[in-house]
């Protein structure tokens, strides 16, 4: 299995899209490309299991290493473990549904689909990179197109939002780069500096350097995943973005940050992770509670989902900050679950918006009557968001809670209880939104003749829902993928504890 395919395929698709003419050809090419991505990611899953079953227990499978820039010892080093694989599958599922919901995108469709597929390349590259420099490279690849996607195809105050998002994410990248350089210049592998993740993990960066550069890397990646107080790009960015970009942004982009916090900051600088865990937990608890309460006051469906994303991504950071095997497994599950669920939510909101031309909750009403499918999707996304058993949100959140509770310190306990309490608030805002928008009497007469979902929308929702339900019902498949990776990370941090 050659991981380069994951980069090559989107790249070729993007090039092919440039040679297409008209919406029909473009979207067909995009669908074909993203469909192949989906197949490829599942084939990857299959071969991953084959390798593991064959007894290959190296941490990173499908390893490949090419020299890129000798003078600075930068390599193009790729390989995946279960955590990365889970994120890759998430990406492919979100991308294909994003393509499907943009099926009728008329204006500048070629550029739109090109950027969308190009973004997915960045995401795949980020997840498979084992070299910090190439990882950073792909992180940037996944930022810039979003500026264009929001700025050109967005709605509302799109220029402002696009600029805000791009600037804040660039700020995050800058911090990340400081962190990465710090690690690079403090590493000494056979007398040379290195960006290689595997080598750095076994080298163990000096503790005083960790203490300086951990905050840079963690906060930098944290900005991507809406770490309080750097989350304000989320509501504006999401609400201005076109549906597919919102799905990508919330479903994948925010996960780049979580993955980076875990894989780069925590894994490579475990001592600092322990030292700073109190602060991380404080910030994530604030994000969870405060995000949830702020959501309650929103009136725009997209804002509701954006703020709830802040709250839900708080669970990811909380799980990472708690530093137990269970909580980190939970954090990764939450990333996957939130990615699918929030993409589904945005898809449903997009479908509603394209028909009713409003996203203000107070103006909507009784949609269940006219578009039962879309309303059903909306309610399923809502129920998953509030952590109903049978959907992925439940297993992910409960795993985080169980893992978090293993820390006996009073402050950690308090943080866990507050995080648990947020699920009640989640229920409040989800049910308020659903109760008004989807249920209740029809508020506007012209709603009565609106059509229900078309085949492409049904397919998109179906793909995401099946992901949510499969994780919700057979979570052990996902945990079996994630747990070894989490164990490896905990092993690092565990050693850090012993060294103290």
């Amino acid at each position: 299995m050659n991981l380069n395919l994951l980069i090559l395929l989107p790249l070729l698709t993007a090039i092919a899209i440039m040679f297409c003419n008209g919406l029909k050809q473009v979207r067909l090419a995009a669908l074909l490309g993203s469909g192949l991505q989906l197949l490829l990611s599942f084939w990857l899953l299959y071969s991953f299991y084959q390798e593991r079953a064959a007894g290959n227990s190296t941490q990173m499978l499908f390893d490949a290493n090419y020299t890129w820039f000798t003078a600075l010892n930068i390599n193009y080093h790729i390989g995946i473990d279960g955590i990365a694989l889970a994120m890759i599958i998430l990406t492919s599922m979100v991308v294909i549904s994003a393509v499907l919901v943009s099926w009728t995108m008329e204006s500048m469709n070629k550029e739109f689909f090109f950027l969308l597929i190009f973004l997915s390349m960045g995401a795949y590259g980020f997840f498979i990179s084992l070299d910090l420099f190439t990882m950073f490279f792909f992180l940037e690849v996944a930022v810039i197109p979003k500026f264009l996607l929001i700025g050109i195809w967005g709605s509302g105050k799109k220029e402002y939002s696009a600029m805000k998002l791009a600037l804040m994410l660039m700020g995050g990248s800058a911090l990340v780069f400081v962190g990465l350089s710090g690690m690079y210049f403090n590493s000494n592998i056979d007398g040379a500096h290195s960006f290689d993740l595997v080598q750095l993990a076994s080298f163990r960066i000096p503790v005083d350097a960790q203490m300086i550069f951990f905050p840079f890397a963690f906060v930098g990646f944290g900005i991507f995943t809406a770490l309080f107080p750097f989350h304000t790009w989320v509501p504006d960015g999401h609400s201005s973005a076109p549906t597919a970009a919102s799905m990508f942004l919330a479903g994948i982009s925010m996960k780049l940050g979580g993955y980076g916090c875990l894989r780069v900051a925590t894994y490579l600088m475990p001592d600092a992770a322990h030292a700073y865990s109190g602060i991380i937990i404080l910030l994530s608890t604030i994000a969870i509670i405060y995000g949830a309460f702020a959501t309650m006051m929103q009136t725009d469906l997209k804002y509701i989902n954006a703020y709830s994303s802040i709250s839900h991504c708080g669970f990811v950071i909380l799980g990472i900050g708690m530093l137990t095997e269970t909580s980190i497994t939970g954090a990764v599950m939450q990333m996957v679950s939130h990615g699918l669920m929030t993409a589904l939510f945005f898809a449903a909101i997009g479908m509603i918006y394209s028909r009713t031309h409003t996203r203000i909750v107070a103006q909507l009403g009784g949609l269940m009557k006219v578009m039962p499918f879309i309303s059903g999707v909306f309610i399923i996304a809502g129920l998953c968001s509030l952590g109903l058993p049978g959907f992925s949100g439940f297993v992910a959140e409960m795993t985080v809670f169980m893992g978090a509770w293993q820390n006996t310190d009073a402050m950690y306990r308090l943080a866990t209880i507050l995080a648990c309490a947020s699920i009640v608030v989640t229920a409040v805002y989800i049910l308020r939104a659903a109760g008004k928008a989807v249920m209740g009497p029809i508020t506007d007469d012209h709603y009565k003749h609106l059509p229900d979902a078309t085949w492409n929308e049904k397919l998109a929702a179906g793909i995401l829902i099946s992901g949510i339900v499969v994780i919700g019902i057979v979570p052990f498949w996902l945990t079996s993928l994630i747990t070894p990776g989490a164990q490896e990370i905990i092993l690092q941090t565990g050693q850090a504890l012993m060294l103290k």
Binding site: K164, L167, M168, F228, P229, H231, T232, W233, Y290, F293, A294, M296, M297, Q298, E325, T326, G366, M368, K369, L383, L386, G387, L388, P389, G390, F394, V395, M398, T399, F401, M402, G403, W405, Q406, T416, I417, C420, A421, I423, V424, A427, V428, L431, R432, G435, V438, M439, G440, P441, I442, P475, F476, T479, T483
Partner: protein
Amino acid sequence: MNIYSYIALIPLLPLATFLLLGLFGKKYFSSISGILGTFTLAVSAFISLAVAYSYFFVNGKVDGVFQQIIPLKYTWLTFSPNVSIDMGIVIDPLSVMMLVVVTFVSLMVHIFSLGYMKGEERFATYYAFLSLFTFSMLGLVLSTNIFQIYMFWELVGVSSFLLIGFYFEKPSAVAAAKKAFIVTRFADLGFLIGILILSFHAETLDFQTLISRLTDTQSTQLMGITTASFMGVSMLTWGLTLVFMGGAGKSAMFPLHIWLPDAMEGPTPVSALIHAATMVVAGVYLVARLFPVFVFDAAALTIVTYVGAFSALFAAIIACTQTDIKRVLAYSTMSQIGYMMFALGVSGKGGEEGLGYMASLFHLFTHAFFKSLLFLGAGAVIHLVHSNDMKDMGGLRKHMPITHITFLIACLAIAGIPPFAGFFSKEEILTAAFHSNKLIYVLAVFTSGLTAFYMFRLYFSIFWNKEAHLHGEHHGEGTLSMKIPLIILGACALLAGFVPIADWVTSDGIALETHIDIVFSILPVALAIGGILLALSFYKTENSKSDKIASSLNGFYQAAYHKFYIDEIYLFVTRKIIFNLIGRPAAWIDKNIVDGLMNKMASGTAVISEKIKGFQSGKTQEYALYFFLGIISLSALFIYIIK
């Protein structure tokens, strides 16, 4: 190969029905969805009865003690090597009894709904939701794992939400559904934290292991949980109290009861199933399931007792003043569950001590029949008069004889008149209370008098009082499918008291000798008859006696009529405190302070650039001047300062 191999079918059949009807029902089986749902549930009910027979009479006992059997268990989600969620099925007297109650009542409701919900546009959806509920409830009672119970707990919550909000075009139904879900969710927060505490100290989520570890005085786990304390209270008490909080939410105990009366917005058969017979007793079931651990902790058990007793009395008082018949029944449900709760609270473990435990579950058993009967009867009445209000009813006995008779039976049963079902179970509860706590006993006896009064107030107001004035065409008593469940449940309400629950469902698995003491029974029965006579004199015919009493008790009556303003207090807390003092400031801070800071940074950059852009004036001579000054200062720098 025995009957237990088929036991997984009991919950799975309704699940299959749910999926089938939920996904394809509207398109393909709209007309036969009711029959389909009813039929599969009948199979489930039949298997349940077979399991019950096999367990109670054939192979449940070893040496006179009922054993716990776990025919199925799969690891579902592993948290850490010894803490995992296992999906399994537990067979013990408690779960078998619940199995029978749930499938039986659910079957009756399915049959009743065939007539009651006929012609509804979302008929298939209705049956899909009913199946979902039945599946979740069965999963709940069969749980082997405390987290499994939590999962199904949430699922019954959501099916209750969907069913209360079934008429989703009515804003009041949507509001009630939301309220029910959010209040129980709040209670479940306690449950969840309780689980976290118990499982952390017991190092397991499995009921069997958890109970054995926390009841063994030698175990390190028990030592750990009792020595660890928070705010001067041991973690065991915290854990159990929080778990009870979850149970209290689901079982509508004071002060988490506010959702139950509003939940009556749902279709009436749903109220009969979920909000009378099955889901609301989940709290009792939960406490009973963890009873061996509760016995170890007097503080938690005392809380259970007083919450139960207070709720029983509180709800009974409110029930006397309500005029919406479903709300009266809702409060009476709350009151009866209060009985079950305090019966558990006053109980001990083993032998005679365990009378309360047995009595509580006995009452759960009998209550399920007569209360669902009352609701279905009320449903039939509402079906006829198209109103929930007592004032619109009266004199209906001639129009609906079967409903009238069965309703009367149910009222006698709930009032505790021998030989109806309620008499036996209530007698056991009172005996248990008498032997344990006199205060509780006094409250309970008084409440039972009140129960008789408000039930017969309801009965007389519906079936006697003024002459019936039904306008327009009406369809008599309803279809055959509505009458059959009433008759069957009527028979059960009459006879369920003779079911030897005491031989089966006891705190230690050993049959308990019970005897009804005639002398002891005189007081409660006399009070009940007194209550009935009072209701008779007030409500049999139209008169103003009741109004006079009400006006003489003005303040208190008003308070009770307004449900002691608990709703208003909640509304105040949520609207004023949570929304205005937390939500709004949070949103404001986000917009103005956090985001404001980001925007300030951006605009700050702009301001600085505005300030310094004057240097770029476009005037060549100015540039030359800067250049010249630069050279001079640099020369000075290099010549005089850096030598």
